[in-house]
C-alpha cells in the first residue's frame, strides 16, 4: 500500500491538478486504487481535492522528496538506468531544438513563426521527429525494463507520433492535446523525480 500511495502522489506531482483516472493512466494502476490512495493522501494532508481533481500540497511535496531516495534507491544505484536517463537528456535537447524549428523558422538572422505554409519544411521536421522517436525507443526500452509502468508513456508517444505523421500538426508541440511534447515533458519530469535530479532548464 505504501508503494501505491507513493505512486499515486508521484503521478499527481507529475500531472499537477488531475483526476484519479489521469493519474492512474500515468502510473499504470487501476483508477479505483488510485482514487483510494489519493483520498488517503488527502487525509494525511499530502493532497487536496476539489471537483473530482486532486493537487499535491506543500507537505505532500516534502513527503515525496523524503520518500524518493528510498523508493527509487535501486534505480539510482543502477548504472544501466542512470546512463539511459543521461541519454534521455541528450535526446531531450534534440527534441526541444526540433520543436523550436517546428514552431519558428530562421529568417535573416532572426526567427519567425512557422505558418506551416511550406510542406517540405514541415515534412523534414516530422522526419527528424521519426528519427528521434526511433532513437528514443532504444532508450525507453532500457528504462521500461527496469520500471515497467513507464510503458504507458511509450504508448502515448507512439500515438502522438502517428498523429503527427498523419498531418495533425497539433500533435508535435500542442498544449491542449496529448502531443509529443506534452507526453515527453511528463516523462522527463517523472525521471527527474525518480532520480532526484534538478531540471536544467
Amino acid at each position: 500500500v505504501a508503494d501505491l500511495l507513493l505512486l499515486a502522489l508521484h503521478g499527481l506531482a507529475v500531472k499537477s491538478a488531475a483526476t484519479p483516472d489521469a493519474v492512474a493512466a500515468l502510473v499504470g494502476q487501476s483508477p479505483g486504487d488510485v482514487q483510494q490512495a489519493l483520498e488517503s493522501a488527502v487525509a494525511d494532508g499530502h493532497a487536496i481535492g476539489a471537483k473530482g481533481r486532486f493537487m499535491v500540497t506543500p507537505a505532500g511535496r516534502a513527503w515525496l522528496d523524503d520518500t524518493y531516495p528510498r523508493a527509487f534507491a535501486a534505480h539510482r544505484a543502477d548504472p544501466g538506468f542512470t546512463s539511459a536517463a543521461d541519454k534521455f537528456e541528450r535526446i531531450n535537447r534534440d527534441l526541444l531544438a526540433l520543436l523550436t524549428d517546428w514552431q519558428s523558422m530562421p529568417a535573416g538572422g532572426e526567427r519567425v513563426p512557422n505558418t506551416h505554409a511550406d510542406p517540405d519544411y514541415d515534412r523534414a521536421i516530422v522526419d527528424r521527429l521519426g528519427d528521434l522517436h526511433d532513437r528514443a525507443a532504444k532508450v525507453l526500452d532500457r528504462l521500461t525494463s527496469a520500471e515497467p509502468r513507464l510503458e504507458g508513456y511509450v504508448t502515448r508517444l507512439d500515438a502522438a507520433y502517428d498523429k503527427a505523421l498523419a498531418g495533425e500538426v497539433d500533435y508535435l508541440s500542442g498544449v491542449r492535446v496529448d502531443s509529443y511534447h506534452v507526453v515527453w515533458h511528463e516523462l522527463h519530469e517523472d525521471l527527474l523525480r525518480m532520480l532526484g535530479r534538478t531540471r536544467e532548464e
Binding site: 499537477s16 491538478a17 505558418t115 502517428d162 498544449v175 491542449r176 536544467e200 532548464e201
Partner: protein, 599 residues
C-alpha cells in the same frame, strides 16, 4: 549533349528535360536551374526506375547500373577536373535522395564522400588549414555512420580523430565506415534505395495513400569549396529583406567559409556589401541570379551559394522564410510588379501574420525611460503587462478573477502549464529559446522571456511588470502600449482593399438587425471544444450577418461560407482583414478539396 549512353544515369547538364517523376525533386531543381543558365555544382542522378530495379532484385544494386554510375562519375571528374580519391586533385561528392514527393523516412544526405587519409592530407595542403581537413574527415565518418549505418552516435567535437569515430560507429552499428571512395559511394547509393522501404517511409505512404511502387532517385553532386584558394567563400542571399520585406537584398558572406558543410563560428560574417567590394562581378552575377529565380518561382528566394576561386555556384534556392511584416509587404510588391496575381498574394499572407503585425507595441518613449528589471532571451514574441505571480495556482486563481498576471518561474515543469495558460506572459530564470517553457509558450502564443538569470526574480512577486518578449526585456511597472493601425501600413491597407474586393462575404462596420452573435449564444468561446458543425450551421443559415470570436478561425470561416452568410461584423479585438483572410483561405481550401483548383 549527354555523353552517357546508358539510360540508367542522367547527367544534370541542362540538356535533359525536367521531370520530378523520373529524376526526383532534388535533381529536377538542379535541371531547372541549369536551364535558366545558372551555375550549380556538376551532378548526375540515378533515376527513380533504378530504385524499382534495386528492390525487384531483392535489394541489390544491379551491376549494369553500377557500371553506369562509374561512367557518371567519370563524366563528373571531367567536368570538375578532379578525381575521386586522387590526392593531387581530389573530388568530393554529396549523395542525396530525391523522391518525386519528398517524404519522411528517406535517407537524406551524406556529404564529403571520397575522403581518405591521403585526401585529408591533400585538403590540408590545398586549404592551408589542417583543422578544416581533419574536421571534414571526422564529420564524414560521423555522418556516414549515422545516416548510412544507422549508428546512434554524438556529433563529434572539433579535432576528434576520424579513427575514434570509426571505432564508435563500428561499436554502435557493427559495421565499418568504408575507407575506399568507391565503396563509400556504392554503400551510400544502396542506403538511399533501401530507405524507400524503411519502416517510416512505408508508414508515411500508408498514411497519405501514396503507392509503394515508384521509388526515389539518387543524386550525386560534386562538392565545391569556398576555402580552397583566393576569391572564395560561401554565403546566403535573400532576394528581399526577410524581416522588413523591403526590396533591399539581404545576406551573409563568409570569405574563406567552406560552403555546404558549414562549420560554425570560425569565420567572421560579412555583408553582401562586403562581397560587392571584394568580388564585384560575383556580386552582380548573384543579384542577377536572384532576379531570374524570383521571376521563375514567383516568390522571394533564399539562395545558398559558394564562390570557388572567383566562380559563383548556386547550391540551393527555395522560397524564403519571412517575418509577418515581410510576408505582407512582399506579397503586395510581387502582385504590383505583376509577378503573381492578387488572389495569389492574398493566399501568401496568413491571418495570424496580419494579427501579429497588428499586435500592440510598447510606446517607444515610455520604454526609453522605464526601469529595466531584467534582460533575457526572447522565446515567444509579444508585449504584455501584469502582476507577478510565482506559481501556477496563483496564476490560475488571479486569472479566474480577471486579473492580468505574469507567471515567473525558475524553470517550468508540466505542472506549470495551467499557470502558463492563465498568465498574460511568462518569464523564466533559466533555460534558452529551446527550453520546455519556450516550446509551451510558443504553442500558446504567450509572450515569454527565458533565461533572465538565476535568482534575478527573487523579490518580484506582487510587482507590476511589462514584458517586451520581442526584445527579451522585463520593465518595472505598467507601460503604455500603442495600437498599430492597418490604415497606416501601406501593405496592409492594400491587402485590405484587395481582400474586400475578392471576398464573397462583406465585413461591415455597422451591425445590422438580425445579426447572429455567436459569443452571446455561447458558441465557440472555448477553443479546446469546437462547436458541433450542424448546430453552427442551423444558427447561421439565413442570418443576414454574423459575429463572434470563433469567426476568426478556419472552422468559423468555413461555417460562414457553407451557410451562405452574406456579411460579418468584427467583434471587439478582431480586425476585418483577419476575418477576410480566414474566409479567403477557407474558400481556397474548399475549392482545392472539390478539385476546382486553388485561389
Amino acid at each position: 549533349m549527354s555523353t552517357l549512353t546508358s539510360e540508367r544515369v542522367v547527367p544534370l547538364d541542362g540538356s535533359v528535360s525536367p521531370g520530378k517523376d523520373r529524376l526526383g525533386g532534388k535533381a529536377d531543381g538542379i535541371v531547372r536551374m541549369r536551364r535558366l543558365g545558372l551555375r550549380v555544382p556538376p551532378a548526375f542522378t540515378i533515376p527513380v526506375t533504378e530504385c524499382r530495379r534495386y528492390h525487384d532484385s531483392g535489394g541489390r544494386l544491379d551491376e549494369e547500373t553500377w557500371r553506369a554510375v562509374l561512367d557518371g562519375l567519370r563524366w563528373l571528374e571531367r567536368e570538375t577536373g578532379r578525381r575521386l580519391g586522387d590526392p593531387s586533385a581530389p573530388l568530393l561528392v554529396s549523395v542525396r535522395s530525391g523522391a518525386p514527393v519528398s517524404m519522411p523516412g528517406m535517407m537524406d544526405t551524406v556529404l564529403n564522400l571520397g575522403i581518405t587519409d591521403e585526401v585529408e592530407r591533400a585538403l590540408a595542403t590545398l586549404s592551408g588549414d589542417s583543422d578544416f581537413a581533419r574536421d571534414t574527415h571526422t564529420r564524414f565518418c560521423a555522418q556516414f555512420g549515422k545516416v548510412v549505418l544507422d549508428a546512434d552516435i554524438e556529433d563529434p567535437e572539433p579535432g576528434t580523430d576520424p579513427e575514434s569515430l570509426r571505432s564508435q560507429v563500428a561499436e554502435e552499428s557493427g559495421r565499418e565506415v568504408p575507407r575506399e571512395p568507391l565503396d563509400q559511394l556504392r554503400e551510400a547509393i544502396n542506403a538511399v534505395f533501401a530507405s524507400w522501404r524503411s519502416r517510416r517511409a512505408i508508414a508515411y505512404r500508408k498514411h497519405w495513400g501514396i503507392s509503394d511502387e515508384g521509388g526515389t532517385a539518387v543524386t550525386v553532386q560534386a562538392m565545391v569549396f569556398g576555402n580552397l584558394g583566393e576569391a572564395s567563400g560561401t554565403g546566403v542571399f535573400f532576394t528581399r529583406d526577410p524581416l522588413t520585406g523591403s526590396p533591399q537584398p539581404y545576406g551573409e558572406w563568409l570569405p574563406g567559409g567552406q560552403g555546404e558543410d558549414v562549420v560554425s563560428g570560425t569565420h567572421a560574417v560579412q555583408t553582401l556589401g562586403d562581397l560587392a567590394a571584394q568580388l564585384p562581378d560575383v556580386h552582380a552575377e548573384l543579384l542577377e541570379a536572384g532576379r531570374v529565380l524570383e521571376r521563375e518561382n514567383g516568390d522571394v528566394q533564399d539562395i545558398e551559394f559558394t564562390v570557388e576561386k572567383g566562380q559563383l555556384y548556386l547550391l540551393q534556392t527555395r522560397s524564403a522564410k519571412r517575418s509577418p511584416a515581410a510576408a505582407a509587404r512582399t506579397a503586395v510588391d510581387f502582385a504590383e510588379a505583376g509577378i503573381v496575381d492578387r488572389a495569389t498574394a492574398l493566399q501568401r499572407v496568413t491571418p495570424e501574420q496580419v494579427a501579429s503585425v497588428l499586435q500592440p507595441r510598447l510606446a517607444p518613449a515610455a520604454a526609453e525611460t522605464a526601469e529595466v528589471l531584467a534582460r533575457g532571451e526572447p522565446a515567444c514574441p509579444g508585449v504584455a503587462a501584469g502582476t507577478v505571480v510565482g506559481d501556477s495556482e496563483a496564476a490560475d486563481a488571479a486569472a479566474g478573477e480577471g486579473r492580468a498576471v505574469v507567471l515567473v518561474r525558475p524553470t517550468t515543469s508540466p505542472e506549470d502549464i495551467a499557470g502558463m495558460i492563465a498568465a498574460r506572459a511568462v518569464v523564466t530564470e533559466l533555460g534558452g529559446s529551446t527550453s520546455h517553457a519556450a516550446v509551451v509558450t510558443r504553442a500558446l502564443g504567450r509572450p515569454c522571456v527565458v533565461g533572465v538569470g538565476r535568482g534575478v526574480t527573487a523579490d518580484w512577486t506582487g510587482r507590476e511588470v511589462t514584458i517586451d518578449a520581442t526584445k527579451g526585456i522585463v520593465y518595472a511597472g505598467q507601460l503604455p502600449t500603442e495600437a498599430v493601425r492597418a490604415e497606416d501600413d501601406p501593405a496592409l491597407s492594400r491587402l485590405l482593399a484587395w481582400a474586400r474586393e475578392a471576398c464573397p462575404v462583406q465585413v461591415v462596420d455597422e451591425v445590422p438587425e438580425g445579426t447572429v452573435d455567436l459569443d452571446a449564444a455561447g458558441v465557440g468561446l472555448d477553443p479546446a471544444t469546437p462547436p458541433d458543425p450542424e448546430q453552427l450551421g442551423t444558427l447561421l443559415t439565413g442570418a443576414p450577418c454574423a459575429r463572434g470570436a470563433m469567426l476568426a478561425t478556419p472552422a468559423g470561416a468555413r461555417a460562414v461560407l457553407e451557410a451562405g452568410v452574406p456579411a460579418m461584423a468584427a467583434a471587439p479585438g478582431q480586425h476585418p482583414l483577419v476575418l477576410l483572410l480566414h474566409l479567403l483561405h477557407a474558400r481556397s481550401e474548399q475549392r482545392t478539396a472539390s478539385g476546382g483548383g486553388g485561389a
